[in-house]
């Protein structure tokens, strides 16, 4: 109950704080979720992607 009260008093009491925290939370979640999925993808496909074999073909002072 104390936790619920703390949550209510911190986030829900004022509408401005409530809406702002929802938007900030959505932004943070989408970034974090994308990073997590991309990390999983890179680990799963290790050695197959261009970034893994790029070092073999790159010359000095070349871009991309």
């Amino acid at each position: 109950m104390a936790l619920a009260n703390a949550f209510y008093n911190t986030f829900v009491k004022r509408n401005s704080v409530f809406v702002t925290s929802i938007f900030a939370g959505a932004f943070a979640f989408s970034v974090g979720f994308d990073v997590a999925v991309n990390n999983f993808w890179d680990r799963w496909n290790q050695g197959k992607q261009w970034k893994d074999i790029r070092a073999k073909y790159i010359q000095e002072d070349a871009d991309s």
């Binding site: 979720f33 994308d34 999925v37 991309n38 999983f40 993808w41 799963w44 496909n45 197959k48 992607q49 261009w50 893994d52 074999i53 790029r54 073999k56 073909y57 790159i58 010359q59 070349a62 871009d63 991309s64």
Partner: protein, 334 residues
Amino acid sequence: MLSRLPAAALKSQSVLGASRSTTSAFRTRATSQVRFASSSSASSATLESLLTSRASLISVTLFSAGSIAWYTHLYGSLPFVGEVHANSLADDGLHPTTYPWPHKGLFDTFDHASIRRGFQVYREVCAACHSLDRIAWRNLVGVSHTADEARALAEDVEYTDGPDDKGEMFQRPGKLSDYLPPPYANEEAARAGNGGALPPDLSLIIKARHGGADYVFSLLTGYMDPPAGVEIREDMSYNPYFPGGAISMARVLWDNLVEYEDGTPATTSQMAKDIVTFLNWAAEPEHDERKKMGIKAVILFSALFAISIQVKRFKWTVLKNRKIFYNPPKDLKH
């Protein structure tokens, strides 16, 4: 509709159907059933319920429909229904083998080293006849080549540009934004150069053929001598995977046809695998994004589904846990 029928309705229906002969028989049988319905032995009652229950009707129906569907899937025609075909199965082409492509799984991307080798095969072999209209040099950057390599490849090709300030077209070396050059100026020239057969554009060929990557790989490696009795016209080749068997493209992939820069042995099947991987990428450059989006969608939607189930159970607890009592009215002596 079936589920709304009470089991007793089906039972009486079957009794009705069985005793249509005379009304008297119906009457006696009906009365006997009513008379002994409650006192008949338990075993015959279970047998009867097994034969007349809705569940057994539904399961028998499902079993029959399933067997017919399975048979049709396996043999391509309905059981016990004869069919006559004017063409032989060879006219549809041999079904391609299923191959374990590195990009086949739900989470798998292309083998990009293979894409790079496949582009080399395309450039040195396929590009003599086949165009690849939808791919520009810039598309290779970050997929199979560095920007400098792609730029160097593009500069090897002359493109017509213009008009300049005198109104004339001029030749210039290629840029990253140029598309891969077609081998023929137009379709008519391509047909004239290939005995009337048009080499298809390869940009979307993996998507455009049944069997996709498996089919193209089987086709490239499936050339063989025609079997006895099959006549192949001059300038054509026999390939069992090609519908009809006679294909205008001769076998082009032979061992050690190209020399890979990474030292991979250039066998026929290795080159076929690389070119098919390259063409698969060319047909689906959005492949990786699509699969990543699929992963995200499955995670998010299953979480939302679980939440919705939880919310439903929460909202329904009141209804599910209530008890209904019947309080008989007090005797009012009216």
